[in-house]
């Protein structure tokens, strides 16, 4: 089966399994972002907006190169610039392309209450289907990377689709294609890991002894990975989480609490039902009325 097969393997808010028979036998896809090659030119931001027919606000300069200032329903990816001085006193300009990581275990999908608003394809892409989105923002709560954004205009959730429409016809995502320096590459996840290994070897030869791949296990690995010069300190890159995982709160909320709550409610109702059958109603009989009348007359 081709890479571009976009059979849905997981749907949000769906309690039964999606069709599982078809698998990505040729390998799941992944985007590898080599931060050490990135020059922060923002071509990926433009290509993303252009391909997806989005135009963000023309904002203002706040003393940073980060423009637009944050992800939004119109900016599904953006560069985050950090100036870092090493212990040796050398300056490093660390530029990270932020956006959806396409987690193998997506917190957004887990949190989403709307059936089919968030899906995961067999090739690993996690996609939002805005027509099913109800705008609750639970995906924002669920995401360990703070990626989904809710539009102020239509209250739908938006994020990078990994250009599922391009990948579906066998093309690479728009940001990957445009990247001038080859800092963004795309292929099967295995190939991307191998590519990353070559890059890491090169970086180590250039003195970056902690160079490494960012493919966090806490979310089951991701379909967007980074090569970092300082893989030991991901937080240097505009607070990339060191050990991202779906929050325990979200796990509780979307995990055990759901069946337990329904069970508790049902059990309460059922207990009442049993009581009614077993013991029956508490009724006022004529004796009670008579006693009441007596007392009323006495009082009068």
């Amino acid at each position: 089966m081709a890479l571009q097969s976009l059979d849905i393997v997981r749907r949000s808010a769906t309690t039964t399994p999606s069709p599982q028979a078809r698998e990505a036998h040729a390998g799941e896809v992944a985007k590898l972002i080599d931060v050490t090659k990135c020059i922060g030119c923002k071509a990926c931001q433009v290509a993303c907006m252009e391909w997806n027919d989005l135009r963000d606000e023309i904002g203002s300069c706040t003393g940073h190169y980060d423009n637009p200032a944050d992800l939004s329903e119109h900016s599904w990816t953006l560069m985050r610039f950090s100036e870092h001085e090493t212990a040796a006193g050398d300056l490093e300009w660390l530029i990270r392309k932020d956006g959806c990581m396409h987690c193998a275990d997506p917190g957004c999908l887990k949190a989403c209450p709307a059936p089919g608003a968030i899906v995961q394809y067999a090739n690993g892409i996690v996609d939002f289907h805005e027509e099913n989105c109800i705008g609750c923002g639970y995906c924002v709560t669920g995401c360990p990377f703070n990626v989904p954004r809710i539009s102020k205009r239509d209250h739908k959730a938006y994020k990078c689709t990994l250009c599922s429409d391009r990948v579906a016809v066998g093309l690479e995502p728009a940001c990957v294609k445009t990247c001038p320096t080859g800092a963004i590459v795309f292929g099967t996840k295995d190939d991307m890991k191998q590519h990353a290994a070559e890059r890491i070897e090169d970086l180590k030869s250039r003195g970056f002894e902690h160079a490494g791949l960012y493919d966090p296990a806490g979310v089951g690995g991701t379909h967007v990975m980074y090569v970092l010069h300082h893989a030991d300190q991901p937080q240097l890159y505009a607070n990339l989480p060191a050990e991202p995982k779906i929050s325990a709160m979200v796990g509780l909320w979307k995990g055990m609490s759901k069946p337990l709550a329904l069970l508790a409610i049902a059990a309460t109702a059922f207990a009442g039902f049993l009581h009614y059958i077993g013991i029956g109603p508490n009724e006022v009989d004529e004796d009670d009325e008579a006693a009441a009348r007596r007392e009323m007359e006495e009082t009068r």
């Binding site: 949000s12 808010a13 769906t14 309690t15 209450p113 709307a114 059936p115 099913n132 989105c133 109800i134 705008g135 609750c136 923002g137 639970y138 924002v140 709560t141 703070n146 809710i150 209250h155 929050s247 709160m249 979200v250 509780l252 909320w253 609490s257 759901k258 337990l260 709550a261 329904l262 508790a264 409610i265 309460t268 109702a269 009442g272 009581h275 009614y276 013991i279 029956g280 109603p281 508490n282 009724e283 006022v284 009989d285 004529e286 009670d288 009325e289 008579a290 006693a291 009441a292 009348r293 007392e295 009323m296 009082t299």
Partner: protein
């Protein structure tokens, strides 16, 4: 004797009854819409509100409305819900309560200890739901709070709602179980026998011209 119509005792004023039913209807709407958003298997309940998106839009507004209405109700009946010494005794006799043996229990005022506890439970739950609900109200407020708090609020909201729904199930069942209670909240009156049997102390108050809301 049987021809004589028994004198009725007013338990709830009209305004209180209306208030109660507003809260009650709001609660039902909230429970249905909340469950739709809470459990995928109940998402279809959202269709009662015009679909998922409308459910998401309406739920918090109804919630705020209910919180306000409930606040009025809680304020109105708050005075009669103070726990007293005899209430604890009443609670210790819960087996008699459940078994319909009220005669063995200390006499009860306007509300029994179970009702009072329920009152406090509902107040607490609604407070938790209101506060956590504001935090997870994405359209207006969520951006103001750190993501950790939003996540906590989502859990608090779910837990409080579950407790509340259970509490209301108990409340509703109690009304079904103790015959004559429903009329108290629909027509506002109870028979003297009902009052004599279930709320003897209050019955005496009424006879002495007190016991009004």
């Amino acid at each position: 004797m049987s021809a004589r119509k028994p004198p009725e005792i007013v338990r709830y004023r009209t305004s209180t009854r209306i208030n109660h039913w507003i809260v009650a209807i709001s609660f039902v709407l909230l429970a249905l819409s909340g469950l739709a958003l809470f459990h995928p298997s109940l998402f279809w309940l959202g269709n009662l509100f015009g679909g998922g998106t409308w459910t998401r839009i309406l739920h918090p507004f109804i919630g705020v409305f209910m919180a306000v209405a409930f606040a009025l109700l809680a304020f109105a009946v708050g005075g009669a819900n103070r726990m007293e010494r005899r209430d604890w005794q009443w609670l210790r006799g819960w087996r008699d309560v459940v078994g319909n043996h009220e005669q063995d229990l200390p006499e009860v005022g306007r509300y029994n200890a179970g009702q009072k506890l329920l009152y406090f439970l509902i107040v607490l739950c609604l407070l938790a739901l209101l506060l956590s609900g504001i935090v997870i109200w994405r359209a207006y407020f969520s951006l103001l709070f750190p993501i950790g708090l939003v996540r906590l609020a989502a859990v608090v909201h779910a837990v409080a709602a579950t407790v509340l729904i259970c509490a209301i199930v108990v409340h509703v069942y109690a009304a079904i179980w103790v015959k004559g209670s429903v009329r108290a909240m629909t027509r506002g009156t109870v028979s003297p026998g009902w009052a004599w049997k279930h709320h003897h102390a209050w019955f005496r108050d009424v006879l002495r011209g007190g016991g009004r809301e």
